[in-house]
Symmetry: D2
Subunit: 402 residues, 4 copies
């Protein structure tokens, strides 16, 4: 290790991100880690432990790398999924540090699979980016909206020129005085697509600016809406809009969940519907975010998109055959290429689900992943609602040391 | 490895979670991983790589463990923080797979530190759990509410009996017809506290049920609100309510962000305020969730709590000295003991920040962590708003291959 | 009529509001009406028809008066109410132009009364005003919050000095960077109280400004929140928080609503809960606003407060005795003194309900009015949900020519 | 008067709505009023005072009529409007009982007119009705959605068969498990259209039920969303989506509002944007509901639609020429035929604005009315923000006795 560089780093004479100028990735990582160690007095025995491809990861996934975090990985399942893309039994990889979570999901999988599996359907699929423009006044706003409508095909060609797979589906306009938001929606196939739609929209924006009296204020104007809870996504979708359901028999509920359909209906009703309504919530579920977070981290998804996943709505209804359970995720942004999907362990988890890399046809893998996630979220809901109905929540917390 | 067990596991004759009955943790992990490998045809070269203490982790953090996910870890900083608990320069550990994120945070840290550091203050601090009860009718609801008010001290004693550190601060009642929600709020010191408050509330609920004509429907009635975006948390807080701010000089903005205060004000105004308003959002920020997710994963926090963190509000205002920037996180649930905080790499990251384990006095460490996170989120906001103002977003995406 | 003045008025040489400088109220009204008539070519045969006391009305209720609007007034009932303030049968005055509304409310009253009447309880009662201040930075915000907490008694004395009846209950602080909002909550007795709390808060604010480094930006900072739908009111109340419920027998439902409890439960579930959730709504009811608007106009309430009333939550649940129905209005700002309550016809409507003027003790009348409104809203919900369950909605629209 | 009938009415042996069976409208009204008088001991000297056509009103607007409410009517203006439908100076009729409101609107009109008038543009125009269906499961939901898409033309023909003017524009599907919501959107020309779209949708629903395995649960499933605050309307519109703006000169602001552009910008920023965001509000304005309520009552609109009007967003921004002010109402449901628009005084108010009855071409009048309302709301915003900036709010409340 270069002692001189290390000293300069510690004194702040050079910055962490300048290491790669003179060092290879491995040496840069080591030097930064050494600097942090000396600056903070912490000896590292764990963050230095990793097996992924440094070159790829430092190029695509992280800057100023100093090591890796190990997140414990468990498995739940088998989970029988009856989707249009995912059809069969799946073993769900879950990376989490929260005790009881994998056990809960596992129990839910068992219940669903015993009852014949979960139906899953993707209702909508699009990734969005919404730049915000400033125009002169409201008449200018009206003009711009009309221009965009009239020139959609040209914008589409220009946007799609920047991408091999992306398809521009629509541009939805919104205004607030002289602020004009254009929500571009794309089919991004197997990519989650944020990167793709940013670049494509940037290209289309250039024509808009050339031919209109409008100023671009921000390429992302928050009507996208990315990583913030937003009704626009809840209502009109972003990423996959996907729904899963299953009918549970009374017997299985009694055997595996130690409760009954009536109690589960009441828990879901007073908690997930009435309680969320009274809390001013955009999420009408028990813990969709838990399951989504664990699969996202396992499968190299963007962990901040757990925000969108948390807006699911769960329903439980008595039917002749027992208990109808469903979960609808209006906004689930996932992909099987790009982002963290190519990193060693993450790619292995995608492979466990049979969705590593691009699908055939393009888009089939990300849709399959979305279907599996929706079914897994359903498993989590069934298990937690069951535990609450049976009065087991505190006990589970106490025992599994969560 | 036990071939017979493996076959039974593969055939589903026994379940993943039964391995520990006859095997030690290490062998159980291996057997499950082998089963998943054979069932799915995936060879694992990465998820088997981990260095943490298996016994502790399988006991506290995960069930059905098969290995670990490696999340790349970068560092941003130094970040000068001027809080009541965090006071000095910090190196921020960020675990992410999203290219450009660490670079962006790093740039934001540099800007803040150059301008004298970020003020941070914790405005409120409490963890909540809100059971939902069913009473006979609205007169019963009124009675129950009155009873709880009159018996608060008794409930407090009972709840606090279950915990060494937790303090019951208040019980806030809400009704919807014959559904009654009681939102228990606790000071949980250095623990994030979900586990603690669940157990403590469970104890208090027992007295309520004994002495009132009320039925417990669910120990968590979604007015808590945990891991769903909810106005109740945004307005009245859950976890830490924390705010950070800084005044940036015009010169630093020009030098480091290649833009000017006026442009940044306009981006923040049209994007974070107008755009979020028009989107029906509960989050008025650019990407608080990104920074929170990366620190949460690095520091062993519950990743699903990124939902709460995403509801920050960012302001940017012209002042004589340059640009006033602030971020307010109404709901930031974090801890330095419990959850994933004791796992090898995660604990090292907490140590980097000087907040591993319990603080002195109790609560000081989790507050310090919250202050650092708030300042880091501010760094992220400044950097991204700066990039948007400078028109660099698409370029950054293209170059850093996000 | 003064022709010269009229001409000047028409030419815009003097303004409508200047008439009273030289004319008495009656003449001023006539002159303005004549001017509008000549300017627009409209002959007035109706707006000139009114019987209230011009002097009082032009002093307290309206400026630039030119006449009056006649809103048709119907009656529904008797409605049996079992509240703490309203106890007995009431005839509900409803002013509306929407056909079918009174009929619907009337049917609902009949159903409730036949089933033994509606329980009503007021859960909370307060009127709020939330000024917004700008401080130097977040440390200043923390200081101001602390100062307000420490000086609450002094602020209370000062605020209450401005009013005979108002009592300052609490001041709740909120921040967003250097913006500080202080939500003052008052018991305003029989007045709806917006005027009272504005003046009282203005007085308290003066001390705050004298003794703190803070600038008042607006006496109303929208966290009040007045006449905008807002989660803060939905969750924590503004005006009266009031709930009404009743258990309907199967027989009455079949006889009067031509449907059954099961169907009504399902309509309420899929429409008022699931539908509102999916719509990102803050109102989980069928048409609380209709009933509230009609009573508000009849009883001289502020019609814009229909916004707050629209955020009710309606529940319908099967119970042994039949159908449990409830409505909870978290935010119902009403009064029996001040505003339009003293005008001729409006006061007569308040008298019909036995709530004209101040109550004994003070506050009893406005609480009684709130209870009656809640029971009436319940009647409206039962009737409309019943009509939807019976498949009668379109028919009713067609026949009653709404 | 028929004494025998009166006694039966008082004893509840017959119901209020049965009077018309044996009596003409006038006698029925009198008898009911007499009954209410005797039952409650109130002598009526005002509610019996009205001049509208009883036959028409009792047929179309009200049931169980006992009289009328007189709401004081004032006028504000002239207001210079530069819309596509409303072009010229208008005198705004405002019916209210809230002192200071007309004065405030009048001042705002004066400011706008002095500065050259308000631009207004209608961005979208549609009335919606969203029935909710129950299907077997999520696969059935997907099928139904596809069927509706494939059969849109047939549904359109069927729906439009029920109306002379209505045009079905689109059907937007939403799901939550096995609940399917179909949001029908219509151009209803000069009618507000709730009645029209209910009847038209009812007709279309019949085909859906005939040809699909779906059960209608409610013809209105709350995703319409009618008279409840809902993000779906705020984001995607219902009724007219209309925006108005104006640039105010510094001089006029100083002369008429006694403040300056900078202060108004800050009030709007901290109150209407930050304050509303922190309150979890769907309305980012000062008092749009006040102006809307007053015009609605004056012009025979449905007063409960004030809820939708309250979700406006107001912006104020410094520009070279002074202060740019805008208001955007995403959801303004108004009409000039049907509802209360044909009643004596109400029709006179519509005539004042030149919009009584159907427009030429159809729809022109309701659009013109919407433009005038938007400009009036802008006037109200400017005046109140101005008053807050000048520190005059409490003073105005005190003086005008509101």
């Amino acid at each position: 290790m270069e002692r001189r560089l290390l000293e300069k780093l510690k004194k702040g004479e050079i910055s962490f991100h300048e290491m790669e100028k003179t060092l290879d990735s491995g040496a840069a990582i080591e030097l930064r880690r050494a600097a942090v160690s000396e600056l903070t007095g912490v000896n590292f025995n764990h963050i230095n432990n990793f097996s992924f491809d440094i070159e790829k990861v430092t190029k695509r996934n992280i800057e100023n790398m100093i090591g890796a975090i190990q997140v414990p990985l468990g498995v739940a399942g088998p989970l029988l999924v009856k989707g249009e893309y995912a059809d069969g039994e799946f073993y769900i990889p879950l990376a989490t540090t929260e005790g009881a979570l994998v056990a809960s999901a596992h129990r839910g999988c068992s219940v669903i699979t015993s009852c014949g599996g979960a139906n899953v359907r993707i209702i909508d699929d699009k990734m969005t980016r919404a730049p915000v423009f400033r125009v002169k006044d409201i008449t200018g706003a009206q003009k711009l909206i009309k221009w965009v409508k009239d020139n959609f095909q040209r914008l589409k060609v220009k946007a799609e020129d920047t991408t091999r797979f992306g398809i521009l589906l629509s541009i939805e306009p919104f205004i607030a005085g002289r602020s004009v938001f254009l929500r571009f929606a794309y089919d991004t196939k197997d990519a989650m697509g944020m990167n793709m739609v940013t670049i494509a929209t940037d290209a289309a924006v250039k024509i808009i600016l050339d031919e209109n009296d409008a100023e671009l204020i921000a390429l992302s104007g928050n009507m996208c809406t990315d990583k913030k809870p937003a009704a626009i996504n809840v209502i009109f979708g972003r990423g996959k809009t996907v729904s899963a359901d299953v009918v549970l028999s009374k017997e299985i509920i009694e055997e595996k969940l130690k409760t009954n359909p009536e109690k589960m209906v009441e828990v879901n009703y007073r908690k997930n519907l009435i309680g969320s309504a009274r809390a001013g919530s955009l999420g009408f579920n028990a813990h969709a975010a838990n399951i989504a977070a664990a699969i996202f981290i396992a499968c190299g998804q963007d962990a901040a998109h757990v925000v969108e996943a948390s807006t699911a709505i769960t329903t439980m209804e008595l039917v002749e055959e027992g208990l109808y359970c469903s979960v609808t995720l209006p906004s689930l942004p996932v992909g099987t290429v790009g982002g963290g999907t190519g990193i060693g362990a993450q790619q292995e988890c995608l492979a466990i689900l049979g969705v590593a890399g691009a699908g055939d046809p393009p888009g089939a893998n990300s849709k399959k992943l979305a279907e599996i996630i929706a079914a897994s979220v359903l498993a989590g809901e069934i298990s937690l609602i069951g535990a609450l109905a049976a009065g087991h929540l505190a006990k589970a917390h106490a025992e599994l040391g969560r």
